[in-house]
C-alpha cells in the first residue's frame, strides 16, 4: 500500500474494527526497541514468579489451600505427561519442558485475555501490551525448542548414525521395491521434522491471533448498534471472550501434547 493511500485512509481507519498487527510493535518513546510482546511477557513472568513465590511459602507450612492447589496441579500435570510420553521415567525426565510449555502458554493466554479488558478501558494500552502468543516470534521459539529437544534426545538415546540413518538411509524391507519406498518415506519424515516446527508454532499463533481479531471485530459490530452514546452493546463480544478462555486452555494442552508425542518418538525403541 502506497503512502498517500495511507494518508487518505488515516481518518477512516478509526471507523473500522481494530485489527491487531501480526507482530509486536516497538513501544513509543524508548531509546531501545522493546516490543509490546516483550512487555506482556514480563507481565506473565511477574504473575508466574509471584505464584511460585506464594506456592513455595505454602509448601513449607503444614497444610494450606495453596499447598493443596499446587500439589494438585503438579499431580495432574504428571499424570498428563506420563500418559503422553508413555513411561514414568521419561515423563519425569521431561517434566521440565512439557510442564513449562503448558503452564506458560496457559498463563500467557489468560493474561492476554485479561489485558483485553485493559485495552477496552483505555485504548492507549494497546500501544504497550498484546497477547504474548499472538506474536509469531514467541511461538516459533517454543516450537523450535520442542523439536530440537526431541531431536537431541533421539541422537543421545540412539546415536547419530542410527538416528539420522532412520531418516536418510532407511533400508528396511524384504524386496527391493519395499526398500525403495522405505527410503522415500524416511526422507518424507526428515522434511516433516521441519514442518513440525512450523505447524506447532503456527497453530498456537493463529489461534490466539484470530481470537484477538474475532473479539475486536465483535466489539466493533457492537459499537455500531445505537445505544445513545454509551456503547453498551459492545458487550456482545462477551461470548467470544468466554470461547477464547476455552481456546486458551485447549491450545496449551495441544502444544504440550504434540511436543510430548515428538518426544515419545525419540525416547521409545525403534520397532524395526
Amino acid at each position: 500500500m502506497s503512502t498517500e493511500h495511507v494518508e487518505t485512509h488515516a481518518t477512516a481507519e478509526h471507523q473500522g474494527p481494530h485489527i491487531p498487527a501480526t507482530m509486536g510493535s516497538a513501544i513509543p518513546g524508548l531509546p531501545y526497541p522493546i516490543t509490546t510482546t516483550v512487555v506482556s511477557t514480563w507481565i506473565v513472568m511477574f504473575v508466574l514468579f509471584s505464584l511460585v513465590f506464594v506456592l513455595n511459602r505454602a509448601l513449607k507450612r503444614e497444610s494450606s489451600r495453596m499447598k493443596t492447589f499446587g500439589l494438585d496441579v503438579i499431580r495432574r500435570l504428571d499424570a498428563f505427561i506420563t500418559g503422553t510420553i508413555g513411561n514414568k521415567k521419561d515423563a519425569r525426565g521431561y517434566f521440565w519442558l512439557l510442564g513449562t510449555f503448558f503452564v506458560f502458554i496457559f498463563t500467557a493466554n489468560i493474561v492476554g485475555l485479561l489485558l483485553d479488558w485493559a485495552i477496552l478501558v483505555s485504548p492507549k494500552a494497546a500501544e504497550y501490551v498484546r497477547p504474548v502468543n499472538s506474536d509469531l516470534n514467541t511461538t516459533l521459539v517454543m516450537g523450535l525448542t520442542a523439536v530440537v529437544v526431541a531431536q537431541a534426545t533421539g541422537i543421545y538415546r540412539k546415536g547419530v548414525k542410527t538416528h539420522f540413518g532412520h531418516y536418510l538411509a532407511n533400508y528396511h524391507g524384504d524386496t527391493v521395491a519395499e526398500r525403495i519406498i522405505a527410503v522415500f518415506v524416511g526422507w518424507l519424515h526428515f522434511v516433516g521434522e521441519f514442518v513440525r516446527v512450523g505447524s506447532l508454532s503456527m497453530r498456537l499463533f493463529l489461534n490466539i491471533f484470530v481470537g484477538a481479531t474475532l473479539i475486536s471485530v465483535a466489539v466493533y459490530v457492537g459499537s455500531l448498534i445505537p445505544s445513545f452514546g454509551t456503547g453498551i452493546f459492545r458487550i456482545i463480544s462477551m461470548p467470544f471472550w468466554f470461547f477464547e478462555l476455552l481456546v486458551a486452555f485447549l491450545q496449551a494442552y495441544i502444544f504440550a501434547t504434540l511436543s510430548g508425542l515428538y518426544l515419545r518418538e525419540a525416547v521409545e525403541e525403534v520397532s524395526h
Binding site: 500500500m1 485512509h9 477512516a12 481507519e13 473500522g16 485489527i19 501480526t22 500418559g83 505447524s199 503456527m202 497453530r203 493463529l206 489461534n207 491471533f209 484470530v210 481479531t213 485447549l250 491450545q251 494442552y253 495441544i254 501434547t257 504434540l258
Partner: protein, 68 residues
C-alpha cells in the same frame, strides 16, 4: 484498512475446517456411544484431532487480514 476482496476465498477454507471438525465430533460421539467407558481417552484424542483440523481454516482467516 482490510481489503475484503479475498473474503469468499478465505471462507472456503473455513468451510472445510468446519466440516472436518464436525466429522471428528461425530466419530468421537459414535465411539463413546459404542464404548462409554473409553470416553476419557477418546476425548483427549478428539481434542488433538480438532486442533490439527482447525489450522487450515485459521490460516485462511488470518491470511485475509495479512494480505493487504
Amino acid at each position: 484498512m482490510t481489503n475484503l476482496t479475498f473474503l469468499p476465498l478465505a471462507l472456503i477454507g473455513v468451510i472445510g475446517s468446519g466440516i472436518g471438525i464436525g466429522l471428528i465430533g461425530m466419530g468421537a460421539l459414535q465411539a463413546i456411544g459404542r464404548n462409554p467407558s473409553a470416553s476419557g481417552d477418546i476425548n483427549a484424542k478428539m481434542l488433538t484431532a480438532i486442533a490439527l483440523c482447525e489450522v487450515p481454516g485459521l490460516l485462511a482467516f488470518a491470511a485475509l487480514f495479512i494480505i493487504k
